[in-house]
């Protein structure tokens, strides 16, 4: 079976999704979702342990060899991303049970889990495939299901947010498919490895830079790079809490992966960075993202929205690492990919717990929660420390490598701006902590600690924040390996 | 020292601290309160000060007797540490008092916007 792991990774959830929709039982469809995500985690671990050493798995779908058939191709880079997606899904799905019962109408819950599994399928598919058109297909699967998931939020603004996300997401996907189409016209192939071999011959044509431009904008939209992030805050704010936790920790990460794969593997680092000089655009945008959206986050009154803006800033850190176009920079970016999934997952889950008990995630609703929901708020504090980048948390590991990479590139002012970003994170995290711990609680609203079924997944992520903050051996090893593969450096 | 008016420019009117009038045996009923204390008597303060002046004089005159080691050429000046300490403190207070003109603000200076 292990030979078929790449395809089983996607096929099992793909089959699970309609089953979950057909079974109209809340508990059963949830169990199926859990099963699908745990399977994905098992398969992801299997894949990663096989490619950790630098091996590449190539799997021909239906026995049709590439470039004629669709090839699934796994190396350390996407095995890493698959693991992130699967790991977050395996924690977020158990968490979702209570949260979704409270926030989604009961007759829609089984459809919710169906969309949830589909979204997971799409994200895994994007990551595992080695075929650019297949990327687009899975992108549509994950995006469409994500729109549906977001629109299920309690607030009626969820619908308009999902609609807005739909429009922007579709435009992004369209741009990507236009880029893919242009490449296909010029080379006659859709297989990534094939493309990378044939593209150099047609690099001088106008079509390829235009394709590159469409792809850049498409990816920027999908991964919410400033200033194309505007769809993100509302989508994250009004989506059901569990959805926010899941999507915030995975969807943009996969979009970053897509960008990396196209830039480094399909086009090649030399074309993207030396000829197109995309770093000249990415670096300033990343820095503006870090500073501007952190500033916006400071002024937010709704904590989910605050965290959403913080996410845009954090994406800035990842893109900053990518734009350094060095092994060190990519390592930092890929580390942050993983680490940010852990911290934002934990923070949004904590907010889900607050939503569950208090019914609001506005800052003033946090008053006194430090006493009433000690475990939830303690988790928030640890997640917040991680966002800030305090030592012993994963956030510190990310920042450490990012600053090191910036200094190694001679960009000390970039390193300084990263520090400034951290300071701004102190402010927006502190605003929440201050109200939760120092403001007196309103009397007699009967708010109690969140149910254990939500707290346990939350604390699993919190523990991971600390564990990988102390023992960063595995994460740095894999991230470094992935960065070397992307840069085409063999060690 | 508390009633030695010469030491307290802000109590020049000779006012007594507020409180009920105290009878001659108040020290018994208010043992910790208004029993006459050592520095309430200006004579004691005076004695203390006189003793202090003598001590100062003796300290300087001791230099004539004691073989003082000099670590720094300026220490050779007679009574260097004595006049330096006196001048330093006098200057310190005079300058600090002038600094008040620039630095002093009301107590709620930072509290009002």
């Amino acid at each position: 079976m292990s030979d078929h792991l790449p395809v089983l990774l996607v096929v099992v959830p793909l089959i699970a999704a309609p089953i979950a929709a057909l079974i109209r039982s809340v508990r059963l469809s949830w169990l199926i979702a859990c099963g699908a995500s745990w399977w994905a985690l098992y398969a992801a671990w299997g894949l990663l342990s096989r490619v950790r050493g630098g091996e590449v798995i190539s799997y021909a779908l239906g026995g049709w060899p590439a470039p004629y058939g669709i090839e699934y191709r796994v190396d350390a880079v996407n095995a890493w991303v698959i693991l992130i997606v699967a790991a977050i899904a395996s924690v977020a799905t158990p968490y979702a049970y209570q949260s979704v019962r409270r926030e989604v109408e009961s007759d829609r819950v089984s459809l919710f889990y169906s969309a949830w599994i589909l979204c997971l399928t799409g994200l895994l598919g994007i990551s595992v495939t080695g075929d650019v058109f297949n990327v687009f297909v899975f992108l549509e699967i994950s995006s469409l299901s994500a729109y549906a998931l977001i629109s299920l939020g309690q607030d009626r603004r969820a619908l308009t947010s999902a609609y807005q996300y739909l429009i922007m997401g579709s435009i992004g996907a369209t741009f990507i498919v236009i880029g893919i189409g242009l490449m296909y016209i010029m080379t006659g192939t859709l297989n990534m490895m094939d493309l990378s071999e044939r593209l150099p011959a047609v690099m001088d044509t106008r079509a390829i830079p235009v394709a590159f431009a469409f792809l850049t904008v498409g990816f920027s939209l999908k991964l919410a790079l400033f200033p194309l992030h505007l769809w993100l805050p509302n989508a994250y704010t009004f989506a059901p809490s569990a959805v926010t936790a899941f999507i915030a920790a995975t969807a943009t990460k996969v979009a970053v992966y897509m960008m990396l794969r196209f830039f480094f593997t399909v086009f090649g680092a030399a074309f993207a960075f030396d000829v197109m000089q995309v770093d000249l655009i990415l670096l300033p945008l990343a820095l503006v993202a870090i500073l501007s959206t952190s500033l916006v986050a400071i002024h937010q009154q709704n904590v989910k929205r605050l965290l959403a803006y913080s996410s845009v800033a954090q994406i800035g850190y990842m893109i900053l690492g990518v734009s350094l176009a060095s092994v060190a920079g990519l390592t930092a970016g890929l580390l942050h990919l993983f680490n940010h999934a852990l911290m934002k997952g934990a923070l949004f889950m904590a907010m889900g717990c607050v939503m569950y008990r208090v019914g609001s995630v506005r800052i003033d609703a946090m008053a006194g929660l430090g006493k009433k929901m000690p475990w939830t708020m303690a988790a928030f504090v640890v997640g917040g420390l991680s966002i800030i980048g305090v030592p012993l948390t994963v956030g510190f590991i990310s920042k450490w490598y990012l600053v090191q990479a910036a200094l190694a590139a001679g960009l000390w002012w970039v390193a300084a701006l990263v520090m400034v970003g951290s300071l701004m994170a102190v402010i927006y995290i502190w605003r929440v902590v201050e109200v939760a711990y120092l403001s007196p609680a309103p009397d007699g609203d009967g708010v109690a600690e969140a149910p254990l079924a939500m707290l346990i997944p939350l604390w699993v992520l919190v523990a991971a924040n600390v564990y990988f903050g102390v023992n960063a051996g595995l994460t740095t090893e894999v991230a470094t390996r992935a960065a070397e593969i992307l840069m085409g450096v063999t060690s | 020292m508390s009633h030695d008016e010469s030491l307290h420019p802000d109590r020049m009117d000779g006012s007594r601290p507020e409180g009920p009038p105290l009878g001659p045996y108040a020290w018994w009923s208010h043992p910790a309160a208004e029993r006459p204390r050592i520095w309430d008597d200006p004579a004691n303060v005076r004695k203390l000060l006189i003793g202090f002046y003598i001590a100062c004089a003796v300290l300087v005159l001791l230099e004539l007797v004691v073989d003082r080691h000099e670590y720094h050429p300026w220490e050779a000046i007679f009574g260097f540490h004595a006049w330096y300490g006196f001048a330093a403190c006098w200057m310190l207070v005079v300058i600090a008092k002038q600094m008040r003109r620039v630095l002093m603000r009301s107590e709620d200076y930072y509290d009002v916007d």
């Binding site: 904008v217 | 003082r68 207070v93 600090a96």
Partner: protein
């Protein structure tokens, strides 16, 4: 030594236990933890241990050697005395919070001085701030709340600088080990020095100290005065001994605060200024870098913790018993607080470096070291400061609180535990001052004998002090001495407490107005260009509002055109 363990662990465990226990049990813990921890340090083996590999760097949690051990003993002693002094606290006074954070704070200080690398040091550096701020906030006033925030911001900034410096050093030298750094012109060394400087209250960065300590609780100030600045002194002694610039920085630190101290009304703030003055002596000694200079600096740090702690304890007692601490409100307390008054005089004599009191045994080392190195001007400044400190801390504090004009306040001496704590400190001041060679000098980190008690030293120092006192008497007689006035004096903090808010407010409103105008125009232009789709969305906020889908599309279009132009122009 019974158990080989980094000392901070015991204190942290104690801090947690103090939070969950009550009554006699907690009191026993508060006293037992520093005693056991201190005894456990006796005879400890030197050398780095408890090392962990993280991200390719070695973290060292426990590195006892001559220098760190001296501070290790000192901090245990200070924690014991402080805990004893605070033992009576009731729940209304926030006993749990104060006890717990005091032990955690002491533990952080121990963690910092025994840290063998800059990253571990950084962690404890920040913990120092986060644990101690509760001793300020526990006062429970609006003012202490805001002061605590300023304190926290400045110390977190100091930590960020330390971390930045550590990263740059790791980049340059490949190691994060904390040894002698010195100013070699590299940015990392400068950042770390500035970070230490902020915590050590260097001039212009000193104001957090005089801002926050007077706003802390009556007992909290005792802890605050013991740990934070001394950890910084340890850091400077370890990393920057012999950096000449420190000689002059130290000299400035000894001199300028005493002017402020003379005209300051809040007696605990007077102590804050005199604390900067004392740290100045230590910084100078470290800057001199000779065995005598550094020994003098750390010895003075040791003594300062005890006598400054004693003075803060006496003023804390006054604050607790009378509810007042301004010189203008106090006076004549010797009648009803005789023990406190006596202890205050011992503390005052020690800080003024009277022979037979502890300050004398250490301050004279720094002065002698300055002379040995030929720093005449610096020596004169130190001499001036030595006379000045007697003037404001030695005379002003006891005089205006306990003597001077009778304020009419009638109270009593504080509870027994506070008296005993002060008594222990007072005895230590006298014992160390009288027998320095049998006590303090034995644990100094560097070799080199020093004999404070020769005729010259005793005579000149006594002359200096007596004539300083004579000046005080004269100034009072001639009514030149400035009266204590209900007022405050502006200091560097004026820049960030008065000027900055006004500039920020002004610039902020200007920026938001310009920003509003620019964005308003741009958005309305965008509306007109893409009228469809944005018609239903009314404009609300500015930066963070929900953008109309049309505006988003405009961005997409702009970027696409931009990218294509950029790429085709290649």
């Amino acid at each position: 030594m019974w158990i080989d363990l980094p000392p901070f662990i015991l204190l942290f465990v104690g801090g947690v236990l103090a939070a969950v226990t009550r009554g006699t049990l907690r009191k026993s813990i508060m006293l037992a933890v520093p005693i056991l921890g201190g005894l456990n340090l006796i005879g400890v083996e030197h050398g780095a241990r408890f090392q962990y590999e993280v991200a390719g760097q070695t973290l060292t949690l426990f590195r006892p050697d001559g220098l760190s051990l001296l501070f290790g003993y000192l901090f245990h002693l200070a924690a014991f005395i402080g805990n004893l002094f605070a033992l009576h606290l009731t729940d209304e006074e926030g006993a749990t919070l104060q006890h717990s954070s005091a032990l955690l704070y002491a533990g952080s200080a121990l963690g910092a001085v025994f840290a063998g690398d800059l990253i571990t040091m950084f962690v404890f550096w920040e913990l120092l701030a986060f644990t101690s701020v509760f001793l300020i906030w526990a006062r429970g006033t609006e003012r202490s709340y805001r002061t605590g925030f300023r304190y926290l911001v400045i110390h977190v900034l100091s930590g960020v600088l330390l971390l930045s410096g550590a990263i740059i050093r790791a980049q340059e030298t490949g190691s994060i080990e904390f040894g002698n750094i010195g100013l070699d012109g590299s940015l990392g060394a400068w950042l770390i020095l500035i970070s230490f400087g902020i915590k050590a209250a260097f001039p212009l960065a000193h104001n957090w100290l005089t801002d926050s300590y007077p706003e802390s609780t009556a007992t909290g100030a005792v802890f605050l005065s013991a740990f934070t600045t001394k950890v910084a002194i340890y850091g400077l002694a370890r990393g920057y001994a012999g950096t000449e610039m420190l000689v002059y920085i130290g000299a400035v630190m000894t001199a300028f605060p005493i002017f402020y101290a003379v005209i300051e009304n809040d007696l605990r703030r007077v102590l804050g200024y005199s604390m900067i003055n004392q740290i100045g002596f230590m910084v100078t000694g470290i800057g001199l870098g000779t065995a005598l200079g550094v020994n003098g600096a750390v010895a003075h740090a040791f003594n300062d913790v005890i006598f400054k702690g004693l003075l803060f304890m006496t003023m804390g007692s006054v604050l607790r018993q009378t509810g007042r601490i301004n010189g203008s409100d106090l006076g004549g307390l010797y009648k009803t607080m005789p023990w406190t008054a006596a202890f205050c005089i011992v503390g005052a004599a020690s800080i003024s470096a009277f022979p037979l009191f502890s300050g004398f045994a250490s301050k004279s080392m720094v002065m002698a070291a300055a002379l040995e190195e030929g720093h005449s001007i610096v020596w004169l400044v130190l001499l001036f400061a030595a006379a000045g400190v007697f003037h404001h801390a030695g005379i002003k504090i006891p005089f205006f609180a306990f003597y001077g004009h009778d304020s009419g306040i009638r109270t009593t001496d504080p509870p027994k535990n506070m008296l005993v704590a002060m008594g222990i400190s007072a005895v230590l001041c006298i014992v160390i001052g009288t027998f320095p060679e049998q006590t303090l000098y034995r644990i100094l980190p560097f070799e080199g004998g020093y004999h404070p008690y020769d005729v010259t030293h005793v005579l000149t120092q006594t002359q200096l002090l007596f004539f300083g006192a004579l000046a005080f008497v004269g100034l009072q007689k001639f009514h030149i001495y400035p009266a204590e006035l209900r007022s405050i004096n502006i200091d560097v903090e004026w820049l960030y407490r008065w000027v900055a808010p006004r500039i920020v407010g002004g610039v902020g409103s200007l920026v938001s107005r310009i920003d509003g105008a620019v964005r308003g125009t741009a958005v309305s232009a965008a509306r007109r260009v893409i009228a469809v789709g944005s018609r239903d969305h009314a404009g609300e906020g500015l930066l963070a509002r929900t953008w109309p889908t049309g505006s988003m599309l405009l961005w997409v279009a702009i970027l696409l055109v931009g990218y294509i132009t950029f790429y085709l122009a290649r």
